[in-house]
Amino acid sequence: MRHIISILLENEAGALSRVAGLFSARAYNIESLTVAPTEEPTLSRMTLVTRGSDEIIEQITKQLNKLIDVVKLNDLNVHGHSHIEREMMLIKVKATGSKRDEIIRLTTIFRGNIVDVTPNSYTIELTGTSDKLDAFVGSFECDSILETVRSGVMGIARGNSALHV
């Protein structure tokens, strides 16, 4: 199953490579990984998306917890808890002729924003779940997509519970 794991880790050089190294050394799968400092500058928040059986996910969280730089973590997909997840994408597409209006309509439907325009292209900003971004990408023909960049998934638990030190 797909799991989103939120991690607070020491904002130290090398902390990221410890996490990445753990995943490659133990042959765990990483679907996406995002990391940035938090409001507390000595901490970084990482969101890691992985897939595996319950046993593997259990090992992943245990092994992550064992890293000295990991201060706290939370599996957002544990039973009985819900969460919000978001990913952001910037996508540059060919936009000529009648396509230009069509793309604007599509962008509105997906609640995206066109953030840059040239005579031949649009750059669109879109936020949502990964599925939504996939669907948006899927609505273009392959050869009309010039470039995409995605942030990877960020997640946060619903309700009062918060991941902090």
Binding site: G14, S17, R18, G21, E55, Q63, K66, I68, V165
Partner: protein, 572 residues
């Protein structure tokens, strides 16, 4: 106190009560060496190869329970140390390794003797640090010792750029006796509810067995283990790493389990209904094919490392905590006048075990003229009255030592179990001897392994370490040859070493005593003679039976009950 970075290192090691520093100098650590020289407080042992520095620190740590410390230079010094660090990592041995690094200003420029030490060591350390500011040095050193020695122990590397140790930059220093880290809080106390659940299982068990590992030794839990096992009257087996934690001369001891374990230990594992795993990690050399591993057992697992639990084998009652703490809590739950166990069932269980024991799976023919390696170990046991510290290398000789030397005390048996590092034995023995100056230390090795760190004979001379080297010389990389005999139709690809040196002359050239023995009838006298030379290193080259095999054996991928025993023809 205002000190430079290098003086801080020297002073800190003293404040931390470090007894020995094992190391080898080079450009990046010259400031440190100068400060150590001037302070002249911590005893520095100059090895002949950085791998040996780390193994020696490791042997010191394993045999004393204290943290071992090594100092190496940047680049090749550090890369040479990596095998030692990985060896300690896989066996969870507390070490602090200080490596020099090129000056901060040139890091990343492929400077002379620069390697990314933090990157290279990352997968085989518990943690590592690169010190970027001399102001962080003292705290980093303290953190390193704290992380290395607490929780599940392990090696920690501190990479120190040369400018950090600049003798001209002085800063205030004071020793911090303790430290805490928000990101590191190992669990010590076992969960009471889980412990009670375990005791319930134990009470109802009909065919229980204790399966113990290196964690018992690391947590100094030998005494509580003995008390608990004896009060319960259960059989006990242990991994290679756990030998000595429970006395091998005791009636309840089944011998080692696993690939070269005893018949009774592996059969008891296979038929047990309640397995009590203590500080052991269900490694593949223990479990054999997982499908056949303890098929009928409810499993209790006590370990300080949550990630060890249910990693390879799903367990029923996990207890995270320090082994000694948990065993002590279990003991408290035993009732004095009531039955704590199912006595009738346990009696029947022992009956069954005694049947397995009758196989006498470690018997071998002692009447041969050519020396049997097993015989050498048995005599070694007798001559040293079972009281020596034994280190070993890796191969058949290691298994013979584990099977035939009856270890009664923890920390008496020192070997590289997890990584299986040939070349470990001699440098480890140096560390053991330094930790126990008045004790007998022997290194059981093979002609292949000993040549992987033979240069340390010079270190032994320099520091007058009277180690006894028991070389079981079968003129083969015996363990490799055994696998080739069993699984490759006897094609001995590269398992024979031509041009084996004359070990007697070699030893003598370093200034030690060398002996060679090639007849069974001379074994005992030679050992007596060697061990009588209390202040000399003696290298005894035993010319042993060439194609001796280690039995019993569970072939890789077989179940634990599918042991192969020595063929009868071997026994007459």
């Amino acid at each position: 106190m205002e000190l430079s970075g290098s003086e801080i290192i020297a002073q800190f090691l003293k404040d931390e009560a470090v007894e020995y520093l094992f190391g080898y100098p080079g450009g990046a650590v010259l400031h440190i060496y100068d400060a150590l020289f001037k302070a002249d407080e911590v005893k520095h042992i100059l090895v002949r190869h950085e791998q040996a520095a780390v193994h020696a620190a490791d042997g010191y740590a394993r045999s004393s329970g204290k943290t071992g410390v090594a100092l190496v230079t940047s680049g090749p010094g550090m890369t040479n140390a990596v095998t030692g660090i990985a060896t300690a990592y896989l066996d969870s041995i507390p070490l602090v390794v200080i490596s020099g690094q090129v000056p901060t200003a040139v890091i990343g420029s492929d400077a002379f003797q620069e390697v990314d030490s933090v990157g290279i060591s990352r997968p085989c350390v518990k943690h590592n640090f690169l010190v970027k500011d001399v102001k962080d040095l003292a705290e980093t050193l303290k953190k390193a010792f704290y992380v290395a020695s607490t929780g599940r122990p392990g090696p920690v590397l501190i990479d120190v750029p040369k400018d950090i140790t600049d003798p001209n930059i002085k800063i205030p220093y004071s020793y911090m006796p303790t430290i805490s880290m928000r990101s590191y809080n190992p669990v010590i106390k076992g969960h009471q509810y889980q412990i009670k659940k375990a005791m319930e299982l134990i009470k109802r068990a009909k065919r229980p067995v204790f399966y113990t590992g290196g964690g018992v030794v690391l947590s100094n839990a030998s005494q509580s283990l003995r008390t608990l096992v004896q009060r319960l009257g259960f059989p006990i087996t242990s991994t290679l790493m756990g030998l000595g934690a429970y006395p091998a001369t005791d009636e309840q001891w089944l011998g080692m389990l696993g690939m070269h374990g005893t018949y009774e230990a592996n059969m008891a594992m296979h038929e047990t209904d309640v397995l009590i795993a203590v500080g052991a990690r269900f490694d593949d050399r223990i479990t054999g094919h997982l499908e056949h591993f303890c098929p009928n057992a409810k499993i209790i697992h006590i370990d300080i490392d949550p990630s060890s639990i249910s990693k390879n084998v799903k367990v029923d009652v996990p207890i995270v905590g320090d082994v000694d703490d948990v065993l002590t809590s279990m003991l408290k739950l035993l009732k004095d006048n009531q039955e704590n166990t199912n006595l009738e069932a346990i009696k029947d269980w022992w009956k069954k075990i005694r049947q397995w024991r009758k196989k006498n799976c470690l018997k071998y023919n002692k009447k041969t003229k050519v020396i049997k390696p097993q015989y050498v170990i048995e005599k070694l046991y007798e001559v040293t009255k079972g009281d020596a510290y034994i280190t070993s290398d890796v191969g058949q000789h290691q298994m013979f030592a584990a099977q035939y030397y009856k270890f009664d005390k923890p920390r008496q048996w020192i070997n590289s179990g997890g990584l299986g590092t040939m070349g470990f034995g001699l440098p480890a023995a140096m560390g053991v001897q330094l930790a126990h100056l008045d004790q007998t230390v022997a290194c059981v090795t093979g002609e292949g392994s000993i040549q992987m760190n033979i240069q340390e004979l010079a270190t032994c001379m320099q520091y007058q370490l009277p180690i006894k080297i028991i070389n079981l010389n079968n003129r083969y990389l015996g363990m490799v040859r055994q696998w080739q005999e069993f699984f490759y139709e006897g094609r001995y690809a590269m398992s024979y070493m031509d041009s084996i040196p004359d070990f007697v002359k070699l030893t003598e050239s370093y200034g030690h005593v060398g002996m060679q023995v090639d007849k069974t009838s001379d074994v005992e006298d030679a050992l007596k003679e060697a061990f009588a030379m209390k202040d000399k290193l003696v290298f005894i080259d035993f010319i042993t039976n060439r194609e001796e095999n280690v039995y019993p054996m569970i072939a890789a991928g077989k179940g634990q009950h599918e042991m192969e025993l020595a063929p009868d023809s071997e026994l007459v």
